[in-house]
């Protein structure tokens, strides 16, 4: 898309959004913040008056030399990515896109990151600042458009991944990075044990790896960086070439693996690096190891408690991606312990006294 096409849809509706939030606050009416409505499956259902972000659209400022872009939250992810690509830049956290309508606000509110996460960082690592609509309908600015800023608490990162339960993201500033000059993807036939061992060994070396996954007897690796190092690493690792689109299919769940069978639920296990395979009754073909093994997609009929206990024992947690499926968990997110829950509640009460922002989206209580 050209700059012109992107800016044609530019529209700042923050005033109207503020009015809507203020009214909701005064009348204590719950709001359901809607970006592109593409991640409806994720999280708990929300009953509320829709607060539609899609019209709040457009790139507010983009200076490639500063490595900073500021966008309105309703901007389509695809439009932002196209604008960055024109300057050979990208959002380094590779946000998943579950459809053309995915908005940047939804991406930040869910805080999901793609295959590059372990090497480049998560969504929140690239959020430099936000304009937030608070419970009283005020548009306030936190963080900024500079790389470093430690004045005040880091509200922008707190909002990232909070799924709109603490406030409405109106504008977001990101740190962006150049698209690597060279890239090569490869696949190697390898058992799971060998793959995990290989990844641990490779991880201790300064190699240009930016994605690593294992499934059904194959290790998949993406190399990105300077031409010389990518070539050298490619030669030393060998293997067969792999389509680059493989990573997008993993990121966006369009890979065949994500066809979930009747009676199964899709789970995401988040585990410390180098965690051994969990002792769970799940066939190897129903597990997809991403993030070098730290993120594991699992199709299973096992109950939430069994999965969560195994993850917790290993230092991780489990999220159900199909809460509505038969066999899915009614609590998609791992419950918090009493102390954490207390401080989550305190925060929610402070920032959303009347529970108007996406109530019940994360946990029943807030």
């Amino acid at each position: 898309m050209t700059d012109l096409a992107i800016h044609a849809a530019d529209c700042d509706i923050s005033k109207r959004l503020c009015d809507q939030v203020r009214t909701a606050y005064e009348t204590r009416t719950p709001l359901r913040i809607v970006g592109g409505d593409t991640r409806a499956f994720y999280g708990r259902p929300v009953e509320g008056q829709p607060l539609s972000m899609a019209e709040h659209n457009g790139i507010v400022s983009y200076d490639p030399v500063e490595l900073v872009v500021t966008v309105r939250a309703g901007t389509r992810l695809s439009a932002l990515q196209a604008a960055l690509a024109e300057h050979h830049q990208m959002l380094p956290f590779e946000p998943p896109s579950f459809g053309e309508d995915s908005t940047i606000g939804g991406a930040v509110a869910t805080g999901l990151s793609g295959p590059r996460r372990p090497w480049a960082g998560a969504a929140r690592d690239f959020v430099l600042g936000t304009r937030v609509i608070t419970q009283e309908g005020k548009l306030l600015r936190f963080g900024g458009e500079v790389m470093k800023n430690v004045a005040g608490y880091d509200l922008s990162r707190l909002m990232t991944g909070a799924q709109g339960t603490l406030g409405v993201l109106a504008d977001i500033s990101f740190k962006v990075l150049p698209i690597p000059t060279a890239s090569h993807c490869l696949r190697l036939s390898m058992s799971l044990d060998d793959a995990l061992g290989t990844l641990a060994k490779l991880g201790r070396q300064p190699l240009p790896i930016t994605a690593a996954a294992w499934h059904a007897g194959e290790l998949f690796i993406r190399l990105e960086g300077g031409t010389s190092s990518v070539k050298a690493t490619q030669e030393s690792l060998g293997g067969e070439p792999l389509e680059a689109s493989f990573w997008a299919s993993l990121r966006d769940h369009t890979h065949d693996f994500f066809n979930v069978n009747e009676g199964q639920a899709l789970w995401r296990l988040s585990l410390p690096p180098n965690t051994a395979p969990l002792a769970l009754d799940i066939p190897e073909t129903d597990i997809f190891y991403d993030w070098g093994g730290s993120q594991r997609w699992v199709k299973t009929a096992l109950d939430a408690q069994t999965l969560r206990a195994a993850c917790q024992a290993a230092g991780g947690h489990a999220t159900c991606y199909t809460p509505n499926a038969q066999g899915g968990a009614s609590e998609p997110f791992t419950p918090l312990n009493a102390v954490l829950e207390k401080y989550h509640r305190n925060l929610k009460t402070q920032l959303d006294a009347h529970g108007i922002f996406n109530p019940g989206r994360l946990y029943a209580a807030f």
């Binding site: 458009e145 790389m147 004045a151 909070a162 918090l336 402070q350």
Partner: protein, 499 residues
Amino acid sequence: MNILFDERLDGELARRDKAEVLTDIQQAVPTLTLLHREEDLRPFECDGLAAYRVLPMLVALPENLEQVEALLKRCHALDVPVVTRGAGTGLSGGALPLEQGVLLVMSRFNKILSVDPDARLARVQPGVRNLAISEAAAPYGLYYAPDPSSQIACSIGGNVAENAGGVHCLKYGLTVHNVLRVDVLTIEGEHMTLGAESLDAPGFDLLALMNGSEGMLGVVTEITVNLLPKPETAKVLMASFDDVEKAGRAVGDIIAAGIIPGGLEMMDKLAIKAAEDFVKAGYPLDAEAILLCELDGVEADVDDDCETVRRVLEKAGATQIQQARDEAERAKFWAGRKNAFPAVGRMSPDYYCMDGTIPRRELPRVLKGIAALSEQSGLAVANVFHAGDGNMHPLILFDANKEGELALAEDVGGKILELCVAAGGSITGEHGVGREKINQMCSQFQADEISVFHALKAAFDPKRLLNPGKNIPTLARCAEFGAMHVHNNELPHPELPRF
């Protein structure tokens, strides 16, 4: 300006009898080392911002978590404020004690609990020195990336509290990007784990919130950091310029060429001279500014990048470009930069270090503004600059023994920060607000934003016992300071947009 706690503006503190508090805590935590005599308290009266000193009521030096927990519970019950201190190298008075408060010193928590080379993690106690982590990881070819210039002394707990940065931040991130998990004790003495060894944790991102929260939300008791493989090679180019603005523009040109250097630092003439006199780094004394550009990674890529950067620098008008020939020369180039503060300290009885950040494109304008302020005030200013990420460290030279010079230096410092805010930047990039920049917070944030910060604080510490008077000003303080401001609102660039 007097930066000491002022109950009229900063809020009332409970009055407690020192002897009673001492007896109470001694009885509750008999094994805890508690200092209470003036001569024992003296070494703790300030942090790295040494112009300001306050004797704390008591100093606690716990050795285990049970002691910290019990101490916090007693302080909470007695309404006694608690100021946490790491190594005391902070430059914003964040660990400045309170007369009516306990100073909780975490320096005895100095153990590296584990290094896991395959998971690339280290678990450490908060009093561990920043550099000690990289030293412990070195046998495995790993290191901890954030490298504040104070890294031989500052503690990782203090780094988390300040979200500390270093010369390698642009590429490798700040503390917040390199910490996976922290264990925290709340003011009520509850244990809480934020983050996880996995790459995310359920619930709100309280880990991100804790980074940079300046000891206001909890006491950090354990940290798990991410380790990185040491780059195969690092090469550094030094470019000289006959004009500061040209050097500033060259910084943008390097990034526009698609290169993210490991480090990209700039020094102006005065800073060059100070560093050269101090460490003989081989800096060109006739240059108006130098850029140090470090490229690291895999040998072959680094060589390609060095070539690209060299071309960019030539085109940008560098008068001389030198590549460090070997590791020894590279270390020498960096020694000048890393010792810039003490080097400037040798030129002048006192100096005052600022920490504003700006969008890089504003550099020429802001440098002009600083030069004008320097001229008006008659105080020399040396500029040291994390150029890659827009973090300036103007060092204002003064003599505290000369009547009025400290006040003048503070006034110039305050105006420099306002310049940064007006240019779309921030009053602090890495040193924190602490007590020092408490008034400037009122120029960066509106009252409504400050109220949200107070709401966050109230979620964790409703009695405002953790580090009161730091980081976030009261609205009363802003009203008073704001009023003063309107009165002499003479910003050097009134035409710049305000945010």
